[in-house]
Amino acid sequence: MSAPTAKQEYSSLVRNDGVHRRVYRDPAVFDAEMENIFKNTWVYLAHESQIPTVGDYLTLPVGREPVILVRSEDETIRALVNRCRHRAALVCEFANGNAKSFRCQYHGWTYANDGSLVGVPIPDRQEENFRERLGLVEMPRVESYRGLIFGSFRDDVPSLVDHLGEGVIFYIDRFLDQAGGRPLTAHRHAHRVDMVGNWKFQMENGLDGYHAGFTHRSFFNVMQERLKKNVRYASSLSTASARSYPNGHSVIDPGTTSTQPLVDRLSTLPNATGLFDQLREEVGDDAFDSYLEQVAGHGINVGVFPNLQLIGIHIRRIEPVAVDRTVVSVRPLIESGGPEAFNQMRLRYHELFYGPAGFGQPDDFEMFERVERGIDDSSAEWLLFERGLNREDVTNGNGAELVGAVSDETPQRAQYASWAHLMEIGAGK
């Protein structure tokens, strides 16, 4: 496969009804994505509750850049590139922690947790400002929306709120207010799966209202067997919708679909009886039912292009590693200081479906691997995203560009339109 170099070549890989397989398989396309997408727009980093106090940090990749996300001494959250300005060694080796400074252990250059260079052993430079000049590289834009921290390597992007847009923010708010509006925090642990496949398989799949009944059939069967009642949710129900928004964002809205099938699943959790009793004791009879509903969330999926998804009760971050390798992190939200049984039920509910050994998510990864194995052998070079193309519309969109049926590929078309747009901007830089 040869690398597309001109912007026309990138846009030629995406049509409104499909995506060329090179988009998933060509290492040159992946290289271009790391520059043109991950260094060209807002990228989700973490939740503020993961670094609650001054000095708290976590490390993560942003595209190919190793980044330290840190709450600096002045309380500002900064995204510093984890690379000594001298010879490019990492200055922080840990996944998370608390530090006043970061030191390169090669030659001892030391940076304060705001990125400034504060120590250089045996200095030999005469120029006065070299310390200012050689602080850690910082992502020029870091902004949060209600605890969700995003960063941009490009400084001339619109504000985060404008980038997200009112239509998407409505659903982000609904997601974050799922515990009756009581504040939620990110759990200190996440499930992280090292998957075989291009990162965009997960990007597409998190907003795919078409696959659940097939890919997750075994999950529904197990629930059906346990509960002896209908456990299907959302898919094929007429009021549920798939919605696309500006900048490649998208939503699956369950509409008026009852969340009762989600609540029903709670009776299958380990020690369910004990947890139900404990919850009733903690919150009282009157509040019990509403707490129980809040355990499982509203059943909405929000996709913020390119790497964030808010699904059910977790925050999902997609980390591209290589053209055929991706780390997917799913981090449940809990109510810090809230009823213990409520939080435990949320964790048990999350474990039921998600993580490397969950009853649902692994089957998604299996499908991505099957695509990986099939994609090169196919005589057809295009993957189809045409479902619902002729029936999606803008009626009652509330900020949405298009609204389709829940199983329509409306979200994916928006994702790839944004993908092509950013790839072209980058190529034209």
């Binding site: 642990h189 069967n221 435990q344 964790l347 993580g355 050994a357 692994p362 089957d363 299996e366």
Partner: protein, 188 residues
């Protein structure tokens, strides 16, 4: 295991063995049988080795002593364990269609006293006659032309039932439990 608990376990030792050696021999026999059932794909028979009130647990945090308080890779009671096996054998658990070939190499087995069990396995009540065992293991699994190897510390609390010795708690601490992991839908 301290002497007091062992003394209440008459007849559990292998023939000709007394005391701790006999207890370890019977525990090992169950532990190796368990690994063999997994490796041969006999998940329903494997499930039968578990006590009615059991815990099957893969923590993320190796220092955790209680599966209920944090997020786990896997935390099953008997109900969820039965669901796991039922899903696995349904024909629609696609990560196991075709199934992984699995090979357990279990080693370094030793009896743990109550304090060691609390530290290595967690804050579980030890009933009289329970046997706590620690060990190390290497688990290889192979599927679709890819073989992966996992390393882990294992802990078991074996308990007596009318059916004989059963698994009350099985804990598996993967060496890389806090790192991004491959799909782990086969039994460990």
């Amino acid at each position: 295991m301290s002497g007091a608990a062992l003394d209440t376990a008459p007849g559990m030792g292998a023939p000709g063995m007394d005391g701790e050696a006999g207890v370890l021999a019977s525990a090992s026999e169950l532990i190796y049988r368990e690994a063999d059932l997994i490796d041969r794909g006999h998940s329903r028979e494997w499930l039968e080795l578990f006590a009615e009130h059991c815990v099957y647990w893969l923590p993320i945090d190796p220092s955790s002593d209680d599966p209920t308080t944090g997020l786990n890779i896997l935390y099953d009671d008997h109900g969820r364990l039965a669901d796991r096996v039922s899903r696995l054998t349904s024909g629609f658990s696609f990560t196991q269609e075709p199934a992984s070939k699995v090979c357990h190499v279990i080693s370094n087995l030793r009896l743990l006293d109550a304090a060691e069990a609390a530290s290595a396995i967690g804050a579980f009540d030890l009933a009289e006659g329970d046997i706590a065992v620690g060990g190390h293991g290497v688990v290889a699994h192979s599927r679709m032309g890819v073989t992966q190897v996992l390393y882990a510390r294992f802990g078991w609390i074996l308990t007596r039932s009318v059916h004989g010795l059963r698994i009350g708690v099985k804990r598996v601490d993967l060496l890389n439990s806090a790192d991004p992991l491959p799909v782990l839908t086969f039994l460990l």
